[in-house]
Structures are given as C-alpha cells and as structure tokens.
Amino acid sequence: MINAQKHEKAYINPYLGGIGLGMVLFFTFFVAGKGLGASGALTRMFTFTLNLMSPTYVAGHDYLYKYVSSSNHVLYHWLTFMLVGVVIGSLVAGFRQKRMKVEMLKGPGTTKNRRIMTAFAGGILVAFGARLAGGCTSGLALTGAATLGAAGWVFFLSVFTAGLAVAYIIRREWL
C-alpha cells in the first residue's frame, strides 16, 4: 500500500471514494446524458492556445480545425467546464487535507532528472493514446464501462495489459 505522506491526511477508503465517484457519474448521466472526462478539455485548451498563436496553422490541420470550426467556441464545452470544477475540487481537497506541498513525486530508486523524463514521455504517450482511442481513463474507460460500452472495456483491458508489461520494463523508476 502506498499511504499518504506523514504531513498529509490519510487517504479515504477507495471503495467509498469509488461509490462517491459512481454517484457523480450517474448524476451527469441523469442530468446531462454525458459522462466524466479530462483529456477532451486539455485537447480543447491546447487547440485554443495554438489557435491564438497561429490560426492559419490550426486551419491547416484537419484534426485541430474541427475543434475551432464548430459554431460554439472551442472552450464552450461540457468537458472544459468540468475541468474548471476538477481544478477547484482538487484545490479544496488539497488544502483541507494538507496535500499542497510543492514536490516532485517519484519512485524511491530514481533521480529527479529521470523523473522529469518519465513524466514528460508518459504525458506524450498518454495524449497520443487518448486521442487515438477517443478518450481517457475517465471519459472512455470509466464512463464507457459503466454503460457497458464495448469501447470502454476494450480500452480498459488494453491499458492494463500494456501498463503491466511496460511497468515491468521500467520497474527501476517506480519500485
């Protein structure tokens, strides 16, 4: 078990947290017919920023252009509002539970420089995989699995399979 650090409040029971998360997901299904998500909002923020810097560049790329060419503003979307909520919710929990220390979390056997590389490389792969699959852990795996969506289950199993294999290869970074 990985427990919270000494200066922090202990983590809550994972089953209890999961039930709470499940109720939130049901709430969004019931009210909006939509699920949770995180990668979509990051993609929209990325496209928005790129479009500010160079609209012609964005217009030249089919994938990016479809975000800015819709009748609604690229940031006017269910998931971008959710991102605002996630940040505020995380801040509130972070302050209340004393988890706001500035630090770099890493495995005990690795260096800060190596952690910078794994965090950066991991981010690249996760973004690429999420855009290819059409969602991430929250938008595709969690939301999809709860509605018995085959896409969500296929994605979840692939993530876990690759995760176990790659984790073994890079075990020095985390164990």
Binding site: M1, I2, Y11, I12, P14, G22, V24, L25, F26, T28, F30, V31, A32, G33, G37, A38, L42, T43, F46, Y63, W78, F81, M82, L83, G85, V87, I88, G89, S90, A93, M100, L105, T118, A119, G122, G123, I124, L125, A127, G129, L132, A133, G134, T137, L140, A146, T147, L148, G149, A150, A151, F155, S158, V159, T161, A162, G163, A167, W174, L175
Partner: protein, 197 residues
Amino acid sequence: MLAPFLKLGYIDDLGMILTSIVAGLVFGYILVSTGMGNSRKISAVFYGKDWGVMKVMFSAVVTTMILTYSSFYLGILDISLVQLTKLNLGAQIYGGLIFGAGMAIGGYCPGTAIAAGANRKIDALIFILGFMVGLWMFAINYGTISEFFMTDNLGKVTLSDVFNLSFGTMSMLVVLTALGTFLLLNKIEGKLYKKSI
C-alpha cells in the same frame, strides 16, 4: 421519460454548465482524497503493490451501472440518450496500449494529472506539458493515423450486444466479475513483486 434532462430539453445551457462544474468539483475532490493525485500510488497498481486505482474504478463502475440500469428499468431514464463511445477496435486497442504504456511510465492519466497539478506536484505539471506535445504529435500525424486506425468503426456497441445478453444479465455478470476480482486482488496485494529491486 424524465431523464436525461439536458437531452430532453428540461434544462438549458446554464444548467449544463452548472452540472458540469459541480460534477467536476466532486470528481476532483474524490481523486485527491483517494490518493489518485499521487503518481506513486497510481503506478503502484501496475506492480500489484496497491490496488487503490482499481478499487476506486470498479466500485465507481458498479455503482453507476446499478443506478443507471435501475432507473432505466423504472422507466425514468432513456438510456439511448446517454453518451456511448463508438467501438473502433484498432483505435481502442492500439490507443489503449500506448495509453497504458504512458501511464506506467508517467504515473498519471489526464484526470489524475490535473488533480495532482492543482496540488502543486511538479511531475504532474511536466506530465501535462508532455501531454500537450503528444497532442501536437497526434495532430500533425492525423492524416496517416486515420488511414490506419480510424477505418473500422463498428458503431455504438455494448457488451450486451457482444454476448447477446440482456442489460440486466450483463450488468449482473459485470458486478459479479468485479466482486470476484476484488477478492482476488486483495489476496495478492503486495505479492507480485516480492522485493523492491
């Protein structure tokens, strides 16, 4: 039918925005409270050291499924109006494999990185920076990628369709599998890698 409110026109855009922000608030709060804002705790799932991620995910899936399908059977929720990602086997298998590799290396997924970043974890902020680079790489290669992976769209397929079972039976099976998995996971927690290397 009573729900989903938004798709049936009972609430407007403002209602949608408020719903989304409130859901995000609780989502973020729970991620941080359960330790999902800690890359060490997330990566530990791939070493069988800590099944926290799986426990949170599966109990969330089971809870949502039970609530969703009971309201469907009670006739208050039109399930066909609830979001369902289309099945595209190539994209979701390869996408999932790349995503899983990234998660094992980086220690986060997008939602948990946002939560950890808000808690001032430097590695999460670097991960998000990498994420932006990954998005850019995907966008510039989209032409080639879509030729290979985005072609076999199978539409909105559920597990009930795949196994030819009713929603009720299928969700019961998923719940039982989840319970079985929990029992098994608790037995082998911390035993996959005997010693740290």
